[in-house]
Amino acid sequence: MPKVFDRVLLTLCCLAALGVISGGFLNRAPNRLASSLPLALWQAPKLEVLIAMISFAVLIALSFMRRERLRSHATLAAATVMLWASLAGAGGLATRLANTDPPQARYSLGLAFWSLIALAFFAMLDAFQRAKFTLVTRAGFCAALCAGFVLMATSGLFDNLSLAREFASHRDILLSELLRHLLLVGVAMGLALLVSMPLAAVVLRFSFPRSFVFSGLGIVQTIPSIALFGLLIAPLSALAARFAILRDLGINGTGIAPAIIALMLYSLLPLVRGFYIGFTEVPVEVKDAAFGIGFDAKSTFLKVELPLALPALLSGLRVVTIQAIGLAAVAALIGAGGLGTFVFQGIGQYALDLVLVGAIPIILLALAADLTFQILLGLARREL
């Protein structure tokens, strides 16, 4: 029995194999509402299937490889090939079927497809961690991955997949909802920073309100997001009814205002904690030395304390931004718009592909935010 060196990779491969065997690669339905029949992976174009299966086998073999650096590089390569081959296979199969099927037929992506994609995705993430790539390499690799995808998409390879059709038919509002989503998150994060700064200053200076502030913000975290959105409706509509100026600003019990307030409230605890940890962990002797060699209060803060606290601050901001990108989807329920609109419409219509039209951009946004904050963190720690 050969020794397993990458248990994560082997486990991922086993799970993916299970998915490939037990589910369809594409699901074919006569129309958008009718139930669908699974088509197996083997029915996809031969070349793509062969390439995908070879790279799958390579990934399995790689989990028995000792040399970690070489293994992670090879894993990245094999996973990329498998990702592209699976995409091309699904697109090719749909195109071939569409030539003979009636035009209202629908082809949605099946369990086998998503298993292969998930395997490729997680294998890449894990290999990234192990290879300890610099952020520049990471960003370059992500760009290359996206370029390959865009190339396939623009060649019309995916046009017959129902997911692509959903994307295409919602193209116009997709962009506006995406911007709406970014607006919700951006404004909420900006407000959260503004509110958390004075709170952090109070918490850092006075020990008496510290536990009060932290437990108060902790309670906010325990409220389920839908409940918090709901709880804000009553007070906000009361305020809007009382003050005409708020109505003129478009503030209401539903819509964008309660969504931003709720996202901001959820962000306060991690941010205030980030400020608190960041500034309390600046070493005492460093502050003492700065004082002793003649830094005044302002330059001690700007040149010593703030740069040393920045990594903790950015870590806090990274957590809340990613959290807010996800939570903002729920805000669609109270009419705030954003990518969550597609998710809830999709659930309502039992149209999984429409759910994905909202969910996929949300996932990509979260990943992009994560990468951005990693770069900023690297800059703040002066190591890239």
């Binding site: 070493p283 002797e285 460093v286 502050k287 003492d288 030395a289 700065a290 004082f291 002793g292 060699i293 003649g294 830094f295 005044d296 330059s299 010593v304 740069p307 040393l308 720690r381 002066r382």
Partner: protein, 308 residues
């Protein structure tokens, strides 16, 4: 010249330093010594106004420090602490140039000063682009001393700077500091609780206990005639005579005579070194060389034990 006159400081109503008066002459290497908690660090931190005295006055070159802007005062005084306190997010070069940059020196002056200071403290130039965490404790404190010297202050305050170092690094830095003091003529005020370190470095010593100045003088004066039991006890009690060997030079005890001795020792060496050489060579007398290496006399074991 630094004059402390009746300086008193209370912490939580208890006197940490009381009625402390001491005059430090320009160019002296003053070691302030005493048991921990005796107030010696507080005295040091009052000299650069990090702590403000509750009573009494401190003057530097005749000017009351209470009347100077504190940041300006501190930028003109070097400051080194036991825990070093290098800025972890700055390179070694940036750390060394912290005060010159606060003083807004131009880039050319900064670069020139960096060259001088790295040469003076023998800091490897390859270290300049590194970060403090990549250096050993001894290297870090060397940089800490370089930072204190960078803006060329004429007064340097050092608060147990070598206490946390390994013996080899400590001995090296002590030697360097002595050398720098001897050729720069700077005034150094050095706090320690380590008597050997004090005797090795000091040109003047001040012994402190419970917030009060107990005694001042040269190391030899204090060792030869400790004024009270506290000083005697702090100097090492029974081991006091052995310590004395450390501070008395061969020059104070030898006899001028023609010498045939095969083993010789320099006139500036301590009696302890002389005794050590005798033990090493199993002899009871050594030839004595002057600064130019010419034999000028002899030292006998009886000179060490009974005096010249």
């Amino acid at each position: 010249m630094i004059e402390l006159d009746g300086v008193t400081k209370y912490f939580d109503g208890l006197p940490a330093v009381s009625d402390f008066s001491w005059t430090i002459r320009t160019g002296d290497f003053c070691v302030l010594i005493g048991p921990s908690g005796c107030g010696k660090s507080t005295v040091l931190r009052m000299i650069n106004a990090m702590i403000l005295a509750d009573a009494g006055t401190i003057k530097i070159h005749g000017k009351m420090i209470a009347e100077m802007p504190p940041e300006k005062l501190r930028r003109g005084i070097g400051y080194v602490i036991q825990s070093v306190g290098l800025f972890p997010h700055w390179t070694i070069a940036e750390n060394i140039l912290a005060v010159p940059r606060l003083l807004k020196w131009n880039a050319a002056n900064c670069a020139a000063r960096l060259d001088e200071i790295t040469a003076l403290l023998q800091i490897d130039r390859a270290l300049l682009a590194r970060f403090p965490r990549q250096l050993s404790g001894g290297q870090q404190q060397r940089v800490g001393v370089a930072r204190a010297l960078a803006a060329d202050p004429d007064i340097i305050l050092m608060d147990e700077p070598f206490a946390a170092l390994d013996p080899v690094s400590r001995a090296n830095l002590q030697t360097e500091l002595s050398r720098i003091h001897a050729h720069s003529g700077k005034t150094i005020i050095f706090v320690t609780h380590d008597m050997d370190e004090a005797l090795k470095l000091a040109t003047r010593m001040a012994v402190m206990n419970k917030g009060k100045l107990v005694e001042t003088g040269t190391p030899a004066e204090i060792l030869n005639a400790p004024e009270n039991d506290f000083t005697r006890g702090f100097l090492g009690g029974d081991a006091l005579e052995m310590r004395l060997l450390d501070v008395v030079p061969v020059g104070a005890r030898f006899t001028r005579t023609k010498t045939e001795a095969s083993k010789t020792i320099g006139i500036d060496a301590s009696l302890k070194e002389a005794l050590n050489l005798m033990l090493a060579h199993r002899c009871i007398s050594l030839g004595v060389r002057d600064a130019n290496g010419r034999p000028i006399g002899e030292i006998h074991i009886e000179n060490i034990i009974k005096g010249a």
